[in-house]
């Protein structure tokens, strides 16, 4: 029992120190970002790396999830005799929850792991030390552009993903489930408000902050050797996914929790 308490205490201490270290890392990044003019060339490169390279994977996963949503929604509503309302189900699920979450998960898996691995490799190969010795602040060159880029790109990817999910959901509803196209479209349009798209972008923006903080931190503080790079990349993705799920819940609570309560 004592050992168990000791174990929990040590684990809690470790988590707290890690959170503190990430917090200091973010503060350092912000201070460099505010006090210096950003490196626009690197910002552009990172927008390309994160945006263009994640676009295909985000949209293809989003497309399949949109189709699944239509099928699941249809099966659920059919039991209630309301299968014609599947457009509402697709609209709410895609725009409010799945669009931002799927885009964030895919960016964490694709771009986040890439960031962690790249920075970690630079750390173990002394390239970050070399940058320091050449009087170029690695936070300015490596970290700040990634922060700026992901916070611009992820909200855009969220919107893009929303449209892919709605589009594929619509096609399944109309062509496979044979629901009247006008009804599906009307339900979609009546459900999806501009505010929902904005809220999805806010979710994307907040989740982006967590992805980039964790992934760049893990890469920057990588332990030596190939094992260190592997560990940093692995931890970055696992921590990201776990934290994104938790943060996504709190964001939904903040953005939509009030609606639920009013509806009760």
């Amino acid at each position: 029992m004592v050992r168990f308490v000791e174990f929990i205490g040590a684990l809690f201490g470790k988590v707290l120190s890690e959170v503190g270290a990430i917090g200091l890392f973010v503060i350092k990044t912000l201070s460099v970002g505010i006090s210096t003019f950003p490196n626009l060339k690197r910002f552009g490169e990172e927008c390309y790396n994160i945006g263009i390279q994640s676009l295909f994977v985000v949209c293809s996963v989003g497309a399949f999830i949109g189709m699944s949503t239509a099928l699941v929604g249809y099966a659920t509503l059919k039991d209630l005799g309301a299968q014609n309302l599947v457009g509402i189900f697709i609209g709410i699920a895609s725009i409010r929850e799945l669009g931002p979450a799927v885009a964030a998960f895919m960016v964490a898996a694709k771009a986040g792991s890439g960031m962690a691995a790249h920075i970690a490799t630079m750390r173990v190969k002394e390239q970050i030390d070399a940058m320091e010795v050449q009087a170029v602040n690695p936070f300015w060159y490596l970290i700040v552009p990634r922060f700026l880029a992901i916070m611009v790109v992820l909200p855009v990817l969220v919107v893009w993903n929303d449209f892919f999910m709605l589009g594929t959901g619509y096609m399944i509803a109309v062509f496979q489930l044979k629901i009247n196209s006008g009804a599906v479209m009307e339900n979609l349009l009546s459900t999806v408000a501009m505010a929902d798209i904005w809220k999805g972008m806010i979710k994307g923006w907040v989740l982006a902050l967590f992805i980039v903080s964790i992934c760049t931190f893990k890469g920057f503080t990588c332990e030596p050797g190939a094992l260190g790079v592997g560990k940093a990349t692995n931890q970055a993705v696992v921590y990201c996914i776990a934290i994104l799920i938790i943060i996504n819940f709190f964001l939904s609570q903040w953005l939509y929790g009030g609606i639920g309560l009013r509806g009760m």
């Binding site: 190969k125 002394e126 030390d129 070399a130 320091e132 010795v133 050449q134 009087a135 170029v136």
Partner: protein
Amino acid sequence: MASKEEFRKYETGEPIVTVRNLSKSFGSLRVLKDLNCDIKAGETTVFLGPSGTGKSVFIKHIVGLLKPDEGELEVMGRNVPTLGERELYELRKHLGLAFQLGALFDSLNVYDNVSFPLSHHTRMRQKEIKSRVAEVLELVGLPGTENKLTTELSTGQQKRVGLARALALNPTIVLFDEPTTGLDPILCTTIDELILKLKTELGKTFIVISHDIEGTWNMADQVGVLYQGTLLRYGRNADVRRDDNIFLKQFFGRTEDGPMIGV
């Protein structure tokens, strides 16, 4: 404030780096113990010693990548451990470090690597940067390699590109971290001769970390021998070479017989 003062010119023989009671530990391991020395401007100073005796740790203190636990380290009149970030970056513009394994940015080609400090710290035009990059690549014996990826280069070439990058800003002090480690004997000689040539042509202060004894006798004005974090001997090349110290005799004689233990 020291940082706002101009970096003055140092006369040959004048101490440009002064080290006083420098100590550093990593956990319970004491890597540097009370190091004291003056490194003179315009000379080549080589720090020799077996692997794992703190040579690279020492060089990282000079460029401010590590902070000592105790002691003082003055480089060009700046007390490095007490410098703020901006002051340290200002100082580093006057230092060039060629890393042991090159530490080239492998996402960039040779040109982008060598021009990296130039494009960040000078107002040189693209044409001038191009010409400076060509000049330093020529100096290290790699002309016309600008468009090559660093991954296409051999280890020796990577080290030389690293050296070209270190020289690009025309620094006052050039530091080499084990320039010949892992190279074949012909390349070792090439690199040693390159350092000698650079010293003759550029007249800069060179600080070299090495365990290549022959190379040291050829290039060094001053020699320091580090063993288990302690500076066993520090002095003129000929004096150190003739020293009767039992540790030095063992190290220079490349024998296992003696008090020195390999790490």
